[in-house]
């Protein structure tokens, strides 16, 4: 499968998810807009996945263990 076909297949799958969840409140015109947005999201995800990281590359995040002090 070419990269283009892979992107299209992914877009259709994700669009089906959005349609299943919210389709009843969306017009065909709005669904077309959602499809355009999903295409951009899928292309971005492919760009992210193309960068290789190592196991040691952690997310930037501020989580800290919590303990209420008396």
């Amino acid at each position: 499968m070419s990269e283009g076909d892979a992107v299209r297949a992914e877009v259709e799958t994700l669009l089906a998810l959005v349609r299943a969840r919210y389709g009843s409140r969306l017009s065909e015109e709005q669904l077309a807009g959602v499809r355009t947005s999903i295409e951009a999201i899928v292309q971005a995800s492919h760009a992210l996945r193309a960068v290789r990281l190592t196991n040691a590359d952690e997310p930037a995040q501020p989580f800290a263990a919590y303990r209420a002090e008396p």
Binding site: G33, L48, V51, A60
Partner: protein, 466 residues
């Protein structure tokens, strides 16, 4: 009070107040009158907070008369973007019709800090609904209407701090507080010919501010000069137990004479690609000015999908922050037609991709710091274009219809930047120059921006008929 105080920088107003040549009450009355009379022309104001302003101004006047001068913001009127919570029955609307009557019973930390500094809250200022996080494509994306640019009333004032930009540019307040997740301070500052400061992430408490994206949201000032931005930042910066992302680093604004130093500036390779001709030409002229202040060298960032990293984080967190609004279908009540359905697409962001973006963000932050470490600032056009016309589609890096490496890296890595005016382009609209620095180097970029403003007079120009 005569309106000759309008378009006077905060520093000069403060000198007048301290010397008791300027009355805080009269000053507040002047700006309240302008907010009420001219605010509607620019769709700049949600609520004029007259009663609170007069009370604060009277208190300031009494304290100063009694010799208790608090500092340079004492008695200075200002406006706050309407995503900062305010008590006392003053609505906090987030620019969104579903919240237009909503009130909080507390004040955001930034509002409290400004009150402690003696500043006078005169207005809650208009903004793009939900700070633009729903995917709007054109300026008419707030229940108050599109933000109107004081330089050209057929043009946009910028998003999402649209009222903060137009109110300062129209002389309705001496300074305003805005917020930036990606571009929402630098964009209205650039569009309206102002100074706008995006502080380092964690410098200013976001407690009481609408959350669009917890790991990208920052609060900062828009004002007539970079110097004024420094004065305001000192008042609002600092650790806040109510916002765990704030850091325990004291901030004192250093207003020392910039002429005392030589700066080292960097310019990212290809940074003007895609810019309008006037933006490119004004940036070239700005570089000539900067060469008189130090050195300028071309630098490069490693090849990473910067825009995709920051966009993925923004979309995923915004979808979660507004989950109730989206899931309930209440987004149908938003003003911009595209804001009523675009958020549904965010369900397509997979958790693994969001985490990948967070991991790449670490790499991005390290890469940016390596480039910035030997420099005082990266410089670039503040925006690639002048302000869009009110009926036109807005080019946006957030939606992927424009590239913005400086914005993606600066916001994604939480770096400070200040934009200042550097000329004019099409339709008489301002262009801007931005200085971006290492984390916590607000004083360095403000010194550079002050030096630039000392060598130019763009910040002394104001719209006609105001």
């Amino acid at each position: 009070m005569a309106e000759d105080v309008v378009f006077t920088p905060v520093r000069q107003l403060a000198e007048g107040i301290r010397a008791r040549r300027v009355s805080p009450v009269a000053l507040a009355e002047t700006f309240l009158d302008r907010l009420e009379r001219l605010g509607p022309r620019y769709n700049a104001v949600v609520t004029v907070t007259r009663d609170r302003a007069i009370e604060q101004a009277r208190r300031a006047e009494a304290e100063i008369a009694a010799g208790r001068y608090r500092g340079p913001l004492h008695g200075i009127p200002y406006g706050a973007k309407d995503l900062l919570a305010t008590s006392g029955g003053i609505p906090t609307t987030w620019g969104a019709a579903p919240f237009k009557d909503r009130c909080f019973d507390f004040d955001a930390t930034a509002i409290l800090k400004l009150e402690a500094a003696g500043a006078v809250l005169c207005a809650k200022l208009a903004m793009v609904e939900l700070a633009g996080g729903m995917g709007y494509r054109q300026p008419n994306a707030a229940f108050t209407g599109p933000g109107v640019n004081p330089w050209n009333r057929e043009a946009w004032s910028g998003g999402s701090s649209s009222g903060s930009g137009s109110a300062v540019a129209a002389g309705l307040v001496p300074f305003a507080i805005g917020s930036e997740t990606w571009g929402s301070i630098l964009s209205p500052a650039g569009n309206c010919g102002l100074a706008g400061l995006r502080p380092t992430y964690g410098r200013v408490s976001r407690h009481g501010a609408m959350a669009l994206c917890w790991t990208l949201d920052k609060l900062g000032p828009l004002a007539l000069t970079a110097d004024d931005c420094g004065l305001v930042l000192e008042a609002i910066a600092g650790r806040d137990a109510a916002d765990p992302t704030t850091v325990d680093r004291a901030y004192r604004y250093d207003a020392g004479a910039p002429a005392a130093r030589s700066f080292r500036f960097g310019v990212l390779r290809g940074i003007t690609d895609g810019c309008e001709d006037a933006v490119r030409e004004n940036f070239a002229r700005s570089l000539e000015v900067l060469l008189g202040l130090g050195t300028v060298e071309e630098v490069a960032l490693p090849d990473l999908p910067y825009d995709d990293i920051t966009r993925t984080i923004l979309f995923a967190e915004a979808a979660s922050a507004f989950e109730d609004l989206i899931e309930s279908g209440a987004i149908a009540g938003l003003t911009a037609p595209e804001d009523r359905y675009t958020p549904y697409a965010r369900d397509a962001i997979l958790a693994k991709d969001y985490v990948k973006a967070l991991r790449l963000r670490s790499a991005m932050a390290r890469a940016a710091d390596r480039v910035l470490a030997p420099l005082d600032a990266l410089v670039a056009p503040g925006r690639a274009t002048v302000a869009a016309m009110l009926g036109a589609e807005v080019r946006s890096a957030i939606r992927g219809t424009a590239r913005d490496v400086m914005g993606a890296v600066g916001n994604g890595a939480g770096l400070p930047a200040v934009a200042v005016p550097n000329g004019f382009g099409a339709r008489g609209l301002p262009t801007s120059l931005q200085f971006m620095g290492r984390a916590w180097e607000e004083n360095t970029i403000l010194a550079a921006a002050r030096a630039y403003q000392s060598a130019t007079d763009w910040h002394r120009r104001h719209p006609a008929d105001l």
